[in-house]
């Protein structure tokens, strides 16, 4: 029993390094993970910053979490595509005949996605600072921010891996990720929820992006965050459990 457990960890570690190589050597993926978040932050910060009305808040301060989630969704599509590529090429047969742990490939792609997305997040926060982002959170707040972002990141990367497993073609897998690109726009990420239509507002309030964005904002800007942090955590943990269990099942079904 103990031996099998260490196998999973070791196999996953080897797979993680492999997936990271694959991910970081794809120039297109790297571009989407670095330049696109920078441009997104820059455009929203400068162009829209002048016309947007978010009350007494600085628009740069307001928009950082929305941009982060938006670009997490975008760069995660490469995790989905890499997963589909593995499923459709011969390499998976090789891994299977080598008797490596079944979940190692899934964990490897998720881990690589988390690392790549963390780079995007750092670039966004860096760009935001240059444009005038002035967070007021203390050390404990920042620890919570890092924890929250990591959990969100794992959840989104796992969803990407699941999309990759569901899709039969590489192109299709990034199509399945579309909801993840759109959800941040229909949340508190880019405009205050109160300024939305009733129907839209209702949707924005119940979907997971809003509590995540509200928590980030509250933690970095020293605002009260009420239940949002707990709601965000419950959403993320729920998504992680569901996506992981489903992914394993889909994987099993596709290889048998």
């Amino acid at each position: 029993m103990y031996e099998r457990k260490t196998n999973i960890i070791f196999d996953s570690w080897v797979m993680f390094k492999r997936c990271l190589f694959i991910s970081l050597r794809n120039p297109e993926a790297l571009l989407v993970a670095t330049i696109v978040p920078f441009l997104l932050m820059f455009l929203f910060g400068t162009v829209f910053g002048n016309i947007a009305n978010v009350g007494d808040m600085n628009y740069i301060d307001f928009i950082v979490p929305g941009i982060i989630l938006q670009s997490l969704g975008q760069s995660s599509q490469y995790s989905a595509m890499n997963m589909t590529t593995d499923m459709t090429k011969g390499i998976l047969d090789r891994f299977r005949t080598l008797s490596i742990s079944k979940t190692a490939v899934l964990i490897g792609h998720t881990g690589a996605g988390v690392v790549r997305n963390s780079i995007s997040t750092l670039i966004i926060i860096g760009t935001a600072f240059l444009l005038g982002f002035r967070p007021q959170g203390n050390f404990r707040d920042w620890l919570l921010v890092i924890g929250l972002l990591t959990i969100v990141n794992i959840a989104i990367s796992l969803l990407a891996v699941m999309c990759g497993l569901l899709s039969k073609t590489v192109e299709g897998s990034s199509g399945l990720m579309l909801p993840l690109f759109i959800l941040p726009f229909v949340s508190s990420g880019f405009v205050p929820v109160d300024s939305m239509d009733r129907g839209l507002k209702l949707f924005a309030e119940i979907q997971p992006m809003t509590p995540i964005i509200d928590s980030f904002r509250a933690l970095t800007l020293g605002l009260p965050f009420g239940d949002s942090l707990w709601t965000a955590l419950i959403w993320c943990v729920g998504i992680i459990i569901a996506a992981f269990t489903l992914s394993i099942q889909i994987y099993q079904r596709r290889i048998s």
Binding site: F10, R18, G90, D93, T97, L98, I100, I255
Partner: protein, 284 residues
């Protein structure tokens, strides 16, 4: 060859995909340390057999075992004995050749992976390309890397699904030599092919698979003998001798149906020309 224990044993194997019966009732066995070629056209069911034997696919009926271990109920034991080089090269395009080998070495927890990786690279003449991305490799190089990755685990039984498809004649012959050597050193090799001459020049035993059934099985020699007699052919050094022989024969009342000069095959021409010009002598 002294090793005559049964390495692969297949009994009444059946497999269907949805309504299509791919394997009807396939039985054969392969002695250890020999080369078995499954000969058949596309869609005959060759890959299905390879997948079942290499534990990737479950049969619907019948049984198959490797060194006595059942491929379904004892897949862990089977996987320790086998290695598969499938039809689609199982290599990572964005990794280098060295990284590909290193990955497999790590996954099987090979001690001293770095040195072993170097050894396999030089054995397969991939040293110069070792640190280039595999996407820049030629078909032959990819195939060599693929097989190196399969051999890293020191398999007792090696499955090669159409190992020479897409290779040029030179690389194909190098591959044949290499496979023969493997078998000489005790590895059982099970390969599939669409090429008659490949089965003939390589295999100790050949199974002819057609529409999910083994039509005939045996040594290449045996398979040729079971066909009805098709006449005999005499060979002479040159056309003069042949003409003389024809005269002698007709004097004795034996009728010669015809005479044709012996031309080298295009493959002979190609290989003779290439060998004269080739500087980097590749072996598989």
């Amino acid at each position: 060859m002294p090793k005559q224990h049964v390495s692969i044993s297949v009994t009444e194997l059946k497999k269907s995909y949805k309504n299509k019966e791919v394997l009807k009732n396939v039985s054969f066995s392969v002695p250890g340390g020999t080369i078995y070629a499954l000969l058949g056209t596309n869609g005959a069911g060759k890959t299905t057999i390879v997948k079942i034997l290499s534990t990737l696919l479950k049969p619907d009926g019948g049984s198959a075992s490797i060194h006595g271990f059942d491929v379904v109920s004892q897949e862990r034991e089977v996987r320790k004995l086998i290695s598969l080089t499938g039809q689609f090269t199982a290599v990572d395009d964005v990794l280098t050749g060295r990284e590909n080998l290193h990955l497999i070495g790590q996954l099987i927890r090979l001690p001293d992976v770095k040195r072993k990786t170097g050894e396999w690279l030089s054995f397969f003449d991939l040293e110069d390309a070792a640190d280039r991305k595999v996407s820049t490799y030629s078909g032959g190089m990819r195939r060599r890397l693929d097989i190196a990755m399969s051999l890293m685990v020191h398999p007792q039984v090696l499955f090669l699904d159409e190992p020479t498809t897409g290779l040029d004649p030179q690389n194909r012959i190098a591959m044949w030599d290499f496979v023969k050597n493997l078998a000489k050193n005790g590895t059982t090799v099970f390969l599939t092919t669409q090429y008659l001459e490949e089965a003939e020049s390589l295999a100790d035993n050949v199974g002819i698979l057609h529409k999910g059934e083994i039509l005939a099985e045996g040594t290449p020699q045996y398979l040729k003998e079971i066909l009805p007699k098709r006449g005999a052919r005499l060979h002479f050094q040159n056309e003069e001798n042949a003409a003389k022989a024809m005269e002698l024969l007709s004097e004795h009342g034996i009728l010669v149906d015809g005479m044709e000069p012996n031309l080298p095959s295009l493959e002979d021409v190609f290989l003779t020309l290439i060998d004269g010009n080739e500087e980097d002598n590749r072996h598989v």
